[in-house]
Symmetry: C2
Subunit: 210 residues, 2 copies
């Protein structure tokens, strides 16, 4: 009688333990699974952002290269000339345009060099250092590209409209082709800037989802 | 006899359970404590960065305001005049300088409006959204400020040096004071840009330590 009672108690206790553990395990397994899925989803989102970043980087490279080449090859020789003088305009007549070409060349070189880091971000979605480096240098390059684009835009505006108060005459009446190419290069540079800003915003939001 | 046996078993089992739990609790407590300390240290580092960000924001505000006011109040009237004409130069003679003043005013307004978000980052070191918003808008403002600074720099350079090829004469021989003020405003704008870049880099690294 006493034995059966004690056995009964033991059994009950074991049962309790099982009961106590079973629901824990039962709930723990889905929780872990859900966490792993969320982790995977996050990794996937990060990888998607990284791939998009690489595509934007290539687009920025293309437009920066376009801007540099368009400005660098800008020159125009007018079809008439005097005995002593031939009228021609080239990008290196204006120091601002020279700066523009150099700055956009630096942007192009940076974008090429940054591609490996972007690929690292795709392969390892949680690589924080390369993402952070990209944000920092992208920001510096934004400043360089915008400075070049802004200064060239100021000169192109002046070439188109001139300035009466400072007695600077518009030169685009004579050098129309030259002005058009320079304007195109400036537009391409501003497109590069917009893409670069978008890249920084994307990278920052990818850094957040950690 | 049988009862004592069963009791013994029970006691042993309870002992085991206690033994099993005791070390777990013993090791768990320091681990939790260490995690909390690390958490606190991280929060402290984030708060330190947020405070530094606020200081930089105020510095950027000061230099942007200085740039806008210096350029906005730039005018010079030459001490000689003809019967029909008085020689004077003002910032709004040049559209680029007008753009500069407007852009720097926008930068100043943005920096004032962003202070509450910066304070949120100090009060709540883990507030990710406000930090992310700051990075995104700071980047856009960097582009605006750099564009304004770059274009004004191009015009100031032209005013100082002129350009023989385009037949644009330097006007700084006549309007020396005007040119100096404008140059000072451009330098202040570039200082603002550098501070803004530093702010973005800081915020991005604070976002990383999550």
């Amino acid at each position: 009688m006493e034995k059966s009672e004690s056995t009964k108690i033991d059994v009950v206790e074991t049962n309790k333990e099982r009961k106590g553990k079973a629901p824990l395990l039962g709930t723990a397994a889905p929780v872990v699974a859900a966490a792993t899925t969320a982790e995977h989803a996050k990794g996937g989102a990060k990888r998607g952002i990284a791939i998009f970043d690489l595509i934007l980087r290539i687009a920025a490279f293309a437009s920066a290269l376009g801007a540099a080449v368009a400005m660098g090859t800008t020159e125009e020789t007018l079809p008439f000339f005097t005995q002593f003088f031939q009228f021609e305009a080239s990008y290196d007549d204006l120091p601002t345009f020279t700066f523009f070409v150099v700055a956009m060349a630096i942007v192009v070189a940076y974008l090429v060099l940054s591609v490996p880091f972007s690929i690292v971000c795709i392969v390892r979605p949680y690589a924080v250092v390369s993402r952070l480096l990209l944000i920092i240098f992208d920001t510096v390059i934004i400043a360089l590209a915008t400075g070049a684009a802004g200064s060239a835009a100021a000169i192109v505006y002046l070439a188109h409209n001139g300035n009466q108060d400072a007695n600077w005459l518009a030169i685009c009446q004579q050098f129309g082709d030259f002005c058009q190419r320079a304007s195109g290069a400036v537009v391409a540079a501003f497109i590069t800037v917009v893409i670069l800003i978008f890249m920084v915003v994307l990278s920052a939001s990818a850094l957040r989802r950690h």
